[in-house]
Symmetry: C2
Subunit: 250 residues, 2 copies
């Protein structure tokens, strides 16, 4: 047997879906054959979760942005197009290679790659899959994912001596990323190289992608293993800039 109040909420949402200009409470009560106070309770909850909005002037209800957002997971191409300028700028300002990754099963998939601006020989890595647990981007995607790390089937393979190979070690890195708002990969994928990443978000809390800088360890981190001064701020600001473009209506 189905849950009555969830079915009723869906009926209300269907009615609102057919009325882009919104409906008054009385019409929704009539359309659902429920008491006004019953419909009001449903609407109050739907407003609270963002699925419905109420016009403060007229009192009419209509579908909210929260439900419109649901059906639109970020298209990686859209993400890439919105990130290109910010990524180029970040490469210029840091002198490091810049990558944009999204969650792809149990890996990070690189959807955009900006070369290190120094004319050294480099290889384009767009499309490449990288391990979640051994990259800064992967740690960020894990840290700001609705599904907890504990539940994910991640093969904690060893890439260098510094790769986290236990769930406890990984959990610790993920918690640090959650706390700081960015993540560091310190020679966990390749010896002598480090990375720093920040989340690109469409909605508060959940990462749609991860923007990262990657380079020789001494250009990313201090000898103590902390980000070079100002670097984390630059990456976070660039990622926030991309997040802003995702929220724009285009």
């Amino acid at each position: 047997m189905s849950i009555q109040s969830v079915v009723r909420s869906a009926t209300v949402l269907h009615l609102l879906g057919a009325a882009p200009e919104g409906l008054p409470l009385a019409d929704l009560a009539a359309g659902t054959d429920l008491a006004k106070s019953t419909v009001h309770g449903l609407l109050r909850t739907l407003v609270e979760v963002g699925f419905v909005e109420q016009d403060p002037d007229t009192g009419r209800y209509r579908l909210g942005s929260g439900i419109e957002d649901l059906g639109t997971a970020v298209d990686p191409h859209l993400l890439r197009s919105r990130a290109m300028n910010g990524a180029d700028s970040l490469a210029a300002r840091t002198g490091l290679e810049v990558r944009l990754g999204v969650l792809a099963g149990d890996s990070v998939e690189l959807v955009h790659h900006v070369f290190r601006p120094d004319n050294s020989p480099q290889r384009l890595r767009t499309g490449e899959l990288l391990p979640l647990h051994a990259t800064a981007a992967g740690l960020v995607l894990l840290a700001f994912s609705p599904v907890s790390t504990v539940r994910r089937r991640i093969e904690l393979s060893s890439w260098t001596a510094r790769t986290p190979t236990t769930r406890a070690a990984l959990a610790q890195l993920v918690r640090a990323a959650q706390r700081r708002g960015w993540a560091v990969a310190d020679e966990t994928l390749r010896p002598g190289r480090a990375g720093l990443a920040a989340p690109v978000r469409q909605r508060a809390g959940v990462a749609a992608g991860a923007l990262s800088v990657v380079g020789p360890r001494e250009e990313v981190l201090t000898p103590a293993g902390e980000p070079r001064p100002g670097l984390a701020d630059l990456v976070v600001a660039a990622a926030d800039g991309v997040s802003e473009t995702l929220r724009e209506r285009r």
Copy 2:
């Protein structure tokens, strides 16, 4: 106080919204900190209302088309663009003027207008508002609307001697339209002129617009007031054709 099971359903939907590839039940239970059977009950209901779908092979759940449809009320410009070919064709086949209208408050707003194909002098009426109760398109929009006619504030003004001016008379015409799948306006707006309309639907049951033919009464109806043979079929088929284009992914 909000309704707990509606909030919990929204949480499940948010989790699924962030995972376009779908999630297993166990992950949803972990992500919501609820018992598996609790989440299962929520999911069963969400599947029933079309907001969630379950992959029969893997058992994983993901957002359903029912919720994606919600956030997309038909844009009148989109409707107009999808209807142009069918409307032209209908005008050619019937020799009558063709109009496409959408619900606009308590009126029909004409979003597309094809002239009667006989070189007679005519005036473009796109953008015009017409009364719901006195037009075939209006009767169709009322008949296939989620909000019952009874609740609508419609001023039953008299346009001709045949305009319905009581709620009972209007309700009768609306019920006939619901039954037949099309509606007739027999000199209810202007003496000597009649119209016939069919619903354009994005989803089953609800009209996104109404496609109609309008002309001298004797070209639309028989002396007995019934549609001329084959005319209703032509209009219904043309409207269904437009409905098909709305369901296409473009």
